[in-house]
């Protein structure tokens, strides 16, 4: 048994860094805090790589499968005898893989931010929030039980809120951060309800017990039915709702494009590579339950993923803000991962989709972080987010250009870049399970290549725009992360995921299926070709197309008016038809009743207070009259 006790520092270090920078950084060393934060993260990165090496290559396998190892665990809050929240670290193939993803991207983003955020007000605040985020995200992936995951799930939500709203004086950033928090919070409500139902039926929060394929949890829950579906299915659908929110799947995707108001390194780290894949990670973590006792919920995952990927890809073709294009592309790629999980089964060759999903998560983190950081370098150079205000940048930004091109080729699925391998596995998994979903994903692959190269060509090619100042290449702190990630895009495709990360921990035999690989490369090339014709050749086709499909284009450009729908629901229904009437009711009905009681008391006392006048004559008069009347009454009654 290898000792993994030191993994507690992977948690603690960023948390201490957050407190340290947040409380003291402001006063004593605003400049130094960036370096400090980055060094802290470098230490964690080293620890994570050591952990990964030890886990994958030296840990003991049982029956050819990687084991789940509890590195440390302590009870944080006891609810009942069986239900308690623990804080601990669970090491298994996916959590170790996520450690690598998070620390690598986070370290690159830290280094990049040293250059990108230089001179910004609140430099130390930025790094303390980044540390908070790293802490929460690491806690999320290492969670040993579902409630720990929920805790860190909320914490990543709040770090995301704080970082989107980093420029807190900008109204759009404030709105975006609020929206992101509330939308994901609503989704988290589902997650929490799911946890409650799950824990009520299985009496445990613990992942190992819950996901043990032969354990009591899986066997127990599937029997009891409620409204036609088993309780397990209900709880898994609710849990998935949390994942839909965090991973910006349809219909909770609306916060993600707006979240681009945050600083670009944040978009790269949180809204592309790590936090938004938490939903995928959640489903993967609970995967045995989905696959073995809630297949209906797993179907929901597949269809939500497929629809989101298509929906987002269509919107991405029409956007002009480069960060928004990337945001929709993220949504689309996460849809891919969800779909891959949705079509997978537990164990054996059935688990291809699971492996593919995790593989794609890994490669996507690299290339999408690279795309965002590249976009940051472009924005840094031209001070605009809009493609229409860019062109011919390849002369000015050579390093950014090459690395961006590599990332675009990767996402388009061109070999030998990593995206080709992971996407191919997803398509293969979909092909063997559901032909309709496969067709959708195949089309999305073409669309992806098209919109990415639309972006690439119109930014780096085309004619020069009259820039106010000549754009210049970013400083070394920003280009080094770009180069490192570009290398990552090249090599990560060759990582043998089928040996390392599989649904049951055993080796999965898989090879590239040429019948799927060749057409998928072809459609990618087709997308690139169309983009080339439309955006390099200076043709009028895009405008014509937009004119022909006027309504379709307008709908897609306006993101199918989903935002407006939400606005209607929140502003009109919640504010105007629930909240305001409640407030009115409280003042004018409930409170008025209380006031009414007081008023009646007062009114009555006004009426009868004349009786207590203190005038002796009046009292005597009343007394004598009463006495006489009583006397008469008695006399008559006695008779």
């Amino acid at each position: 048994m290898i000792n993994f006790n030191y993994t507690i520092w992977i948690f603690l270090l960023p948390f201490l860094m957050f407190l340290f920078l947040g409380l003291a950084g402001h006063k004593y060393f605003p400049r130094l805090s960036g370096i400090l934060g980055t060094c802290g993260l470098a230490v964690i990165t080293v620890l994570s790589y050591i952990t990964a090496y030890k886990y994958f290559f030296t840990s003991e396998k049982v029956d050819g499968a990687y084991q789940k190892i509890i590195a440390f665990n302590f009870t944080w809050l006891q609810f009942t005898d069986k239900l308690h929240i623990d804080i601990g670290a669970l090491l298994d193939p996916i959590s170790v893989m996520m450690l690598i993803v998070i620390t690598t991207v986070s370290l690159m983003v830290h280094i990049y931010s040293l250059g990108y955020m230089k001179g910004e007000k609140g430099f130390e605040r930025f790094f303390s929030f980044l540390s908070l985020f790293s802490f929460s995200m690491l806690g999320l992936v290492l969670a040993t039980n579902i409630f720990q995951m929920y805790i860190f799930w909320e914490l990543v939500g709040v770090s995301s809120f704080l970082l989107i709203g980093f420029y807190y004086q900008k109204p759009s950033a404030v709105r975006a951060s609020k929206k992101a928090f509330i939308v994901t919070r609503f989704a988290d409500l589902g997650f929490l309800i799911g946890i409650l139902i799950l824990s009520f039926n299985t009496k445990t929060f613990d992942f190992i017990t819950l996901t043990n394929p032969t354990g009591p949890a899986i066997a127990q829950g599937s029997g009891i039915a409620f409204l036609g579906l088993s309780v397990m299915t209900w709880s898994m659908i609710f849990v998935f709702m949390g994942g839909v929110g965090k991973s910006a799947m349809f219909p909770f995707h609306i916060w993600l494009p707006d979240a681009m108001e945050g600083p670009t390194p944040v978009s790269a780290l949180i809204h592309a590579a790590t936090m938004v894949v938490a939903g995928v990670y959640l489903v993967a973590r609970m995967f045995p339950i989905y696959a073995l006792s809630a297949p209906v919920a797993l179907n929901v995952v597949a269809y939500v993923g497929a629809f989101s990927s298509l929906f987002a890809a269509v919107i991405a073709c029409t956007q002009t803000d480069i960060k928004r294009v990337l945001a929709y592309s993220t949504m689309s790629q996460i849809g891919y991962m969800m779909l891959a999980l949705g079509v997978a089964g537990y164990g054996g060759h059935e688990g291809l989709g699971y492996m593919a999903s995790m593989f794609h998560l890994f490669t996507h983190a690299m290339f999408k972080a690279l795309l965002f950081l590249g976009a940051g370098a472009i924005i840094h150079a031209v001070h605009s987010n809009y493609m229409t205000e860019m062109g011919g940048l390849r002369k000015y930004l050579p390093i950014t250009h090459i690395t961006f091109l590599i990332a675009c080729l990767t996402i388009a699925g061109i070999p030998p870049f990593s995206g080709f391998f992971s996407k191919d596995e997803i398509l293969a998994a979909a092909f063997h399970s559901n032909k309709i979903l496969f067709a959708v994903e195949y089309a999305v692959a073409g669309l992806t290549a098209f919109y990415m190269f639309r972006l690439y060509f119109s930014v780096f090619w085309g004619k020069d725009i009259n820039y106010h100042q000549t754009p210049h290449e970013a400083p070394a702190t920003m280009t080094i992360p770009l180069i490192v990630l570009a290398v990552g895009c090249l090599v990560s495709g060759f990582i043998p995921f089928n040996k390392l990360v599989t649904s049951d921990g055993k080796i999965l035999e898989s090879e590239i299926e040429l019948m799927i690989a060749i057409p998928s490369v072809l459609i990618g090339l087709l997308g690139i070709g169309i983009a080339y014709l439309m955006y390099v050749k200076e043709s009028a086709i895009p405008d014509k197309l937009a004119a022909t499909f006027k309504y379709g284009y307008k709908w897609a450009y306006n993101k199918f008016y989903i935002d407006e729908l939400y606005l209607f629901v929140t502003k009109k229904i919640i504010f105007r038809y629930i909240s305001d009437p409640v407030a009115w009711f409280d003042r004018h009905v409930v409170d008025a009743t209380m006031n009414g009681i007081a008023g009646i008391t007062q009114g009555v006392s006004f009426r009868i207070r004349g009786l207590q006048s203190g005038q002796l004559q009046k009292y005597a008069f009343v007394f004598i009259t009463g006495a006489i009347m009583l006397a008469i009454l008695f006399i008559y009654l006695w008779k």
């Binding site: 809050l77 009942t80 805790i151 709203g165 900008k170 609020k178 609503f186 305001d580 409640v582 209380m594």
Partner: protein, 501 residues
């Protein structure tokens, strides 16, 4: 002198000292000293309590002292604490301590202000240490009366109206409560022995069910008025809005907890069968409180109103959890009382500080305060995050314990209303973030506010004390949860023995 009575004696001595002072500037120093001492006492009480428990003392109540007070009715001055009262005492001393510093700059009738404030506090302390129903009721009334003066004299806005409304409604509650308590008293000895007011002794007998059916609602509603039970909550928004800062803090932070504590310690503990039988009615009322308070808060424009409605929602959750009558939910209820007490005191302290600078509480008249008063604004954000249940702060611990506990209820109806109550976490997020966005973030909207000073030292003491406590509970909830849990054990056992689920 026993340690518990000191909690009443120290405030009284402080008041005497203030009365003897000539110089009004020293008043606040003496008050701060007295309440600081009280805080130290509370901390040492926690320590003594834990040591005694650790040493294996498993009595239901510790440090019991009993003095016969009024022989013919068998009224005693009886004190004793368990983990729950110890926690409440700690809460009270923290809030009072912070409240003294938050009212550092009261100029008008300073001496009288601090005397009333500390008198109120001594009533609350007395309530929490009593185990005799009569003394408990006495201290309860003692806490309500100074409230009238504090709001009526030092308040703002329609202060006379609010003070009158608050006092009358609470007195109305007291009237119901008194009938309920007397009902318990006259049933306290079925074998014909001496009637008693002592809670521990009454808990050993079983009050006949028909009597429970009458006196449980009376007692529960009587305490419920103070705990802002729908529809008897309307004193709360007006009262909070008119009250001076420290009074809002004490009122929402501690006084409203008397309601929850009493409902639990008297109504449910002494009459568990009726509580079980009638809980569905009150569960419905409290669920309404939770959701209704939260929706009400969304529509408000005055900072104090927002927090008053939010308190209705959060205190509704306390009563809701108490009525679930299982260990986890009740544990959550107590933690929620403490957590809400701390964070709502924090809110009102900050609102007072902001009001002291901008002279308005209307959120739309302010904006972009983050840039002007960063310390206060950051603290406000922390308070907000605690209120919407962010892990790492106390609100999360309390709410999750309640939700998990309530969802373990064997009957489907209770689980469904739990889901309804859970949905309040989203509504809470909406109104908290709305205020933060309008008030603190965005560009500065009013140029008159641009040179406002940030927090002064005494304000920092007040706020940091509260934030420290909120974070301490949020980061390390296990000790509080265990301390309360052990004390709940005998209570739960009694409930389960009488109501086998």
């Amino acid at each position: 002198m026993d340690i518990l009575s000191l909690f009443v004696v120290i405030p009284v001595l402080t008041i005497t000292a203030i009365l003897l002072l000539k110089d009004t500037r020293q008043v606040r120093l003496v008050s701060a000293f007295g309440m600081g001492l009280q805080l130290l006492m509370a901390a040492s009480l926690v320590f003594l309590y834990l040591t005694a428990r650790h040493a294996g003392n498993n009595d239901e109540m510790l440090f019991i002292k009993d003095y016969l007070w009024f022989k013919s009715l068998n009224i005693h001055y009886a004190v004793g604490v368990d983990g729950i009262s110890v926690a409440m005492i700690m809460l009270t001393s923290l809030v009072v301590f912070a409240g003294i510093f938050a009212s550092w700059e009261v100029e008008f009738l300073r001496k009288e202000f601090f005397i009333s404030l500390i008198l109120l506090a001594s009533g609350v302390f007395g309530f929490f240490i009593s185990i005799d129903l009569f003394t408990m009721f006495l201290f309860y009334e003692l806490a309500v009366i100074p409230m009238y003066l504090l709001i009526g004299i030092w308040g703002t806005g329609p202060k006379e109206y609010s003070a009158m409304k608050l006092t009358l409604m609470l007195m109305g509650g007291s009237a119901l409560l008194l009938v309920g308590l007397l009902g318990i008293y006259f049933n306290s000895s079925p074998d014909g022995n001496r009637l008693t007011f002592n809670i521990l002794e009454i808990s050993k007998v079983v009050i006949p069910l028909p009597d429970q059916r009458i006196f449980f609602p009376l007692t529960f509603v009587g305490f419920g008025v103070l705990g802002a039970l729908f529809p008897f909550h309307t004193w709360s928004p007006d009262g909070h809005a008119s009250a001076p800062t420290a009074v809002s803090m004490l009122h929402a932070g501690v006084l409203m907890k008397l309601g929850g504590y009493g409902a639990f310690r008297v109504a449910i503990f002494l009459m568990p069968e009726a509580a079980h039988e009638l809980s569905w009615i009150f569960i419905i009322l409290t669920s309404i409180s939770i959701v209704y308070g939260a929706f009400g808060a969304i529509a408000q424009k005055d900072l104090k109103y927002i927090n008053a409605y939010s308190s209705i929602s959060h205190c509704g959750l306390v009563l809701f959890a108490v009525l679930m009558m299982n260990q986890t939910a009740m544990n959550g209820a107590i933690i929620q009382m403490i957590s809400h007490g701390l964070m709502t005191a924090l809110f009102f302290a900050l609102i007072g500080m902001i009001y002291g600078r901008t002279h308005t509480r209307m959120i739309y008249e302010m904006g972009g305060l983050m840039k002007i008063v960063p310390f206060l604004s950051v603290c406000y954000v922390i308070a907000g995050l605690a209120s919407l249940g962010l892990p790492g702060l106390s609100g999360f611990v309390a709410e999750m314990t309640i939700f998990v506990g309530a969802f373990q209820h064997p009957e489907l109806f209770y689980r469904i209303v739990t889901i309804l109550a859970v949905s309040s976490i989203v509504i809470t997020a909406v109104y908290i973030l709305r205020v933060i966005a309008i008030l603190l973030l965005g560009p500065t909207t009013n140029e008159h506010f641009e040179h406002l000073p940030d927090a002064k030292w005494f304000e920092k003491i007040s706020v940091v004390t509260l934030i420290g406590s909120v974070a301490a509970i949020g980061l390390a909830p296990f000790w509080l949860s265990t301390m309360i849990g052990t004390s709940l054990h005998p209570i739960i056992e009694k409930i389960i023995a009488l109501n086998p689920f």
